[in-house]
């Protein structure tokens, strides 16, 4: 198990290096400069030269590539060009927790409700209930987040006045309702569908019939026997949504005015704020690697067969 872990971590290093290289060169190849403000008049070339020199943008690309990598490995992700009083580390410390809180709440909501609805759809004796849940889950997967967020804000915020139309006051206030629900909708729909399907598969397996024949309580059968086996595909699905939801959905954060990581990332792209772009991509890449690792490790917990395979 430990050697497996070690091998996985080792193999993450080339992945991260490739991600860094790609984002570095793509960011620098994009036309436009960090200093082009959007004011009426273009910047004086001499002023631009001074700023380029101050931030080492006048050095050859491979020198910049190496120096940024060296600093990043020492924990310094660079200054922000867009906001000169902050560094990328400041930005990460300030905005990532908001996205993480939001994402964690959305994921928890999606998983709990998704498992419950999926089980309900699989076990119900009323085909109408199953049909309704399947229809809602199709809607949930197909509606884009920016549509859902906008509709919710206009109906709940402007129309009914139940939630603020904008801004973030904390996870346990009304301002989190719209973003959490919008972020949770797609994973909720996916988990529901997936869990329903795998529950239906497990339902007809031998050990379930045995458990029923033994006279075990229905709830106990559903949770301990069926549920645990049906969970594996659902875990994979949830895992694939986890990175997207945890590190911030740009649309939801922008439209609902959440000061989060996703919104900041795309603002940095528009502003050509290279350190922020590269730094946030690196963090995102680390998250993806870690979460994939966690999901794989979860299989050990859920499925004893994988433990045996590894052991042998």
């Amino acid at each position: 198990m430990l050697s497996y872990l070690f091998k996985r971590i080792l193999s993450a290093i080339p992945t991260l290096l490739i991600a860094y290289t790609l984002v570095f060169f793509i960011a620098h190849a994009t036309p436009g400069s960090p200093w082009d403000s959007g004011g009426n008049r273009p910047m004086e070339p001499s002023v631009k030269a001074v700023l380029d020199a101050k931030y080492n943008l006048d050095k050859p690309l491979h020198v910049q590539y190496a120096s940024y990598l060296w600093n990043a490995l020492h924990g310094d992700l660079g200054p922000s060009y867009r906001d000169r009083s902050q560094s990328v580390n400041d930005i990460v410390a300030r905005f990532l927790p908001v996205s993480l809180k939001l994402g964690a709440a959305a994921m928890l909501f999606a998983i709990l409700l998704g498992l419950a609805l999926g089980a309900l759809a699989a076990l119900t004796r009323h085909p109408a209930v199953d049909g309704l849940i399947r229809m809602l889950s199709t809607l949930g997967i197909s509606m884009p987040t920016y549509v859902v967020t906008s509709i919710l804000i206009v109906s709940l915020g402007v129309g009914l006045g139940l939630v603020p139309t904008f801004g973030w006051k904390g996870l346990f206030t009304t301002s989190s309702i719209v973003p959490v629900f919008s972020l949770a909708l797609a994973p909720l729909a996916a988990v529901t569908r997936c869990f329903r399907t795998s529950m239906l598969e497990v339902m007809n397996l031998d050990f379930v019939r045995t458990a029923r024949a033994k006279g075990l309580k229905p709830l106990s059968i559903i949770i301990h026997h069926m549920g645990r086996n049906a969970l594996i595909p659902a875990v994979t699905v949830a895992g694939s949504y986890m990175t997207y939801v945890l590190v911030g959905s740009f649309f939801v954060e922008s439209i609902a005015g959440i000061p989060g990581f996703g919104r900041y990332f795309v603002l940095a792209i528009a502003a050509r704020d290279y350190p922020v772009i590269i730094g946030t991509t690196l963090i995102y890449a680390v998250f993806v690697v870690v979460i994939n690792l966690v999901v794989d490790l979860l299989y050990f917990v859920l499925d004893p067969r994988t433990r045996l395979e590894r052991a042998s």
Partner: protein, 530 residues
Amino acid sequence: MLKSHVFKTFAAAALIATALSGPALAGADKGVFRMIVGEPRYMDPNLATDFAIYVNAQLFQPLARTDTDGNLVLLQAKSIELAPDGRTWKVALNPDYKWSNGEPITAQDWVYSWKRILDPKVGSEAASFLSDVENAMDYNKGTITDPEKVGIRATGDLTFEVVTALPAPQFRAKLALPYLTPVPQKVVEEFGEKWVLPEHMLSNGPYKLVSRVNDQSIVMEANPHYGGKKPAIPRIEMTIASGDQCTAQLRAYEADEIDFTTCVPSQDIARIRKDPVLSKELDPFPLAATEWVQYDMTQAPWNDKRVRHALALVIDRQPIVTATSDGTNRIAATIIPDSIPGGNSADALKGTVADAKKLLAEAGFPDGKGFPQFTISTTATRERPLIAQLLQQMWADNLGIQANINVLEANAFRAWVQTRKTEKYDLMINGWWSDYADPANWFGDLITADVRQNHFSNDAFAEIVKKGDAETDPAKRAEVFRAANKILEEEQPMTALQNPTDLWMVKPDVEGLAHEGVLNMYHIGEAAFK
């Protein structure tokens, strides 16, 4: 078993209901002015020239303001006099104005700030506004390194003078610019870039900075040491929006979460104008600004005046104005707006579609035959792609010529425009917003300096503009520039399309929030709740 289930469900529902029934946002506390703004790139008033100036204008104040007749209304200055040589501006500060910690604002602060704008190491975008000042641009470009040579000097604790290289009547209007405000020298020198943090910042305007959370909120409170009329509104809370601020502002305004919005998304304009309540809260302001389509004057067929005239004469501007703004923008037939001295819409090209067809035939392209396919380049924002499509349609329908449209992302478009200095193009859609109310801003900064890479050069025009620059009498100046305007419109290097209109919405319980200057500034310190 069932009963406890039912109880639990009821309890949960009741809890949710109480949580949701509380007010969605703190109801309007009548001492607080709430608004939504974009994140200011700089809170330092000497650095930014984009929309950050509107936020900073609540905190920092220039020497004076220009009224609609072009006269200076003094604020931080007690007097501003121009010496008989026409080049030396003598400023005496009003000692009633103090920094927000009570310390006096000295002439040294002002001199330091204006030289700081020019300092090449600071990299301020506002440096070009001081271009008239003696040695200013040389210092900014690094040709000279001694700031003492720049023509800005303190002559006493509360007096300083500014010397321009040549007599520059347009400098009067520049004295009122929001970028030429003072910063506290001691604080800036001690804390460097961190001087803008609320615990360090000192401001000379009606408000002081109480808190700022990047990309989240800015809170200001009344400056107790402000030397002018004390603000009636004690506190301002700004929430930061990114991306589409107009949509966020409108939604929050309609939900009563903010008191004021500075724009309306173009797709909502029609609905707001028809709404019986909201239409009364709409507050439009015609900007001294123009959007146009321009030709690369160094390329064929654009260097042929007949071709430019033909394209200009078939444009119907009404659909453009309707599509982009439901008619709130105004049709512009001339580049320089009427409100700028020298501009006059009577100088517009006159002619019919038939005239246009004839001109195109004379140029060698009867019915558009043989006319090369060309590209209209535009930025992706401000509804400009829509304008490009309308133009493409009008030219195809009336002249039989084929245009392609190249839409670029905003930042990439700005970079692309810069490269047009040496690279060729066909047409581009661009615009200019008046920085200050003087013909020099249009005839000089825009056209003669060719910041939009139009490559227009005309000897008669250049002669007249030079004459106008030296003319200090305002009436004669307007006359001289009018002659230049006639040449500009006859040559048609750019074809004007529309003058944008700013649309504010203000809650009915707010009074005194006026549009100020060509930049359409708002001054919350002069407003009050009824």
